[in-house]
Symmetry: C2
């Protein structure tokens, strides 16, 4: 089966100069994938001129005249019917692609995809979900920035979706779900965490209880639930920390000729370490909860390597039949009316 | 001048078995400091038996019969008049010590210290503040978990306090203040960030605008303001990440005999890196805003090395006359009625 991905080439901090080369690099290593490059034809065409004929046969440009700005409020985005983001999502809606990838405005992506691709019954909003690396393997964390203001019901639904995802992808029968808080004790937290904890406790989910920030990387639970504000802070703080530690490590290695020699000798070890810790590797978060197709959100500041990772995740999700597997699990977990059973 | 620190020896996940050895180790390297060990005499005395006479002359045990539990709601703490935490803070209140250090219940520490030591005019609540390392130096981040529910006015006051601290300690005339958010664009955030941004913009602070999680470690601003929920998530997530990366690095070094040899050769470099990245080094956050004395909050799970760092920070703060310097700056910044001018 051939996989087709619709790419919002105009989104992100860098736009086509990153998304187009990333797509070409990706296609060259994924012969089973076809790409629809969505955006302003006059901007995309020059970037494709030098592409190999073999790649050109697996891609086409779909013209879209408008661009959603990174700082545009979601409300004003509605009137942009011909934005590259909306057009890419509608290509999925109409079955011309199975997945869409965008590095654009997160709020707009969540809103448009929710309208175009609909959410599963019982799910109000798609959540941005990512499998973060842990000491033991990985933890699905959601929401990571799609939903800044959440009700307890939203957080509960994130728990359901995360649990379903862990079941579907990792074949865990009853994934453990933790609620992110400032402490693990019952008394800790705010109104939102307390009311969400009650919903999770009374559900049929395998609720572990409160977890703290460090539990994300310890791998205490399979799924970490949080609102988009806290989740985004956790994610971006982690990215900043990895960058800082990388700088520290380089500084230590370059401290003098002897340190440089030692660093040089240990280069293969340091390189493997760098590879494992590289935030670019972990780019591409799924918009979980959409039933009409796969949508991947790339980091806005992604470089070509990072954007390529997001494309790879989209192709993986389609190849693994992610939406069907989530639907099957979701139906088993939710009643016909969308209520959790 | 001799410095006296009152230590809540019962607080934290481990209690006296960590706090007492940490105090002894600390005193042995700080001949100008005296310690009052507050807690259950019968638990503390056995741990002091083997201490050198030279150290014993600089410490005394102050009996306190009650302990504030780590999971006790602040309200129920009020009735515990003889808790080690409250007694330690009251030793500061009554001038018997200039600083108190506790690894105990954060909410209780904030509440009791606020009542015992009062806040500066115009400041409603003390905030937990820490100088986090950055690529360029350090950033003062607050609140890191003392105030989970904040109003825009609270966050604004955190900005004032952080700015004053950066001025007082780092001699920066107009420290830059950033507000933690999920994006730097004007439209990003929730009601709290939007209303706080307005207050900060209209103030006489050197307001930079919104910052994101990664800006904390990039050192984009001198002061990062956030509510205690987001701040605590950022701090603990960072701790977890450092631990995970440490594990990764060890795994890479131990991957085989050749890697081990390379790691061994690079050991001095890796050790210096480990030292710089060690979360234990960064233990001890100041309760900023208190006018009656220095209070340091240690991580609840601190080991003896980490607790010792918190003691060192308390001694530094007293030696540097922190409270007077903050008061001077605060008075210059706030009007007589405590309103920001």
């Amino acid at each position: 089966m051939s996989i087709t991905i619709a790419i919002d080439c105009m989104g992100g901090d860098h736009g086509p100069v990153v998304t187009v080369p990333a797509t070409l690099a990706f296609l060259s290593t994924h012969p089973d994938v076809e790409a629809i490059l969505v955006g302003r034809e006059e901007e995309l065409a020059p970037l494709l001129e030098d592409a190999q004929a073999g790649l050109k046969s697996r891609l086409r440009v779909h013209n879209a005249t408008q661009v959603v700005g990174m700082d545009e409020p979601p409300a004003s985005v509605r009137s942009k019917k011909d934005s590259s983001m909306r057009v890419a999502l509608h290509l999925v809606k109409h079955g011309q692609a199975q997945a869409a990838v965008s590095a654009g405005n997160t709020g707009a992506l969540v809103m448009i995809s929710r309208f175009a691709l609909k959410t599963f019954p019982g799910i109000d909003r798609p959540a941005i979900c990512f499998a973060l690396p842990t000491i033991k393997g990985h933890t699905y964390a959601l929401d990571l920035g799609g939903n800044v203001d959440c009700t307890p019901e939203h957080l509960f639904q994130f728990g359901v979706m995360g649990s379903v995802l862990a079941s579907a992808l990792d074949h865990i029968e009853r994934p453990t779900v933790g609620l992110l808080n400032v402490g693990t004790e019952e008394i800790k937290g705010n109104e939102l965490t307390k009311r969400t904890a009650k919903l999770l406790r009374e559900s049929n989910l395998n609720y572990h209880g409160y977890v703290e920030g460090d539990d994300i990387f310890t791998g205490t639970v399979d799924v970490v639930v949080c609102d988009g504000f806290a989740g985004n802070v956790a994610l971006k703080t982690s990215e900043g920390l990895v960058k800082m530690l990388g700088t520290f490590l380089r500084e230590e290695v370059r401290r003098g000729p002897f340190s440089m020699l030692m660093g040089l000798i240990a280069l293969p070890v340091l390189r493997r370490f760098k590879h494992r810790a590289d935030p670019g590797r972990y780019n591409g978060a799924v918009l979980l909860g959409l039933c009409g197709g796969v949508v991947l959100k790339s980091h806005g500041s992604a470089d070509a390597y990072a954007f390529e990772q997001a494309l790879a995740r989209a192709a993986d999700a389609v190849a693994n039949d992610l939406i069907r597997r989530i639907r099957d699990r979701m139906e088993a977990m939710m009643g016909a009316n969308g209520e959790s059973v």
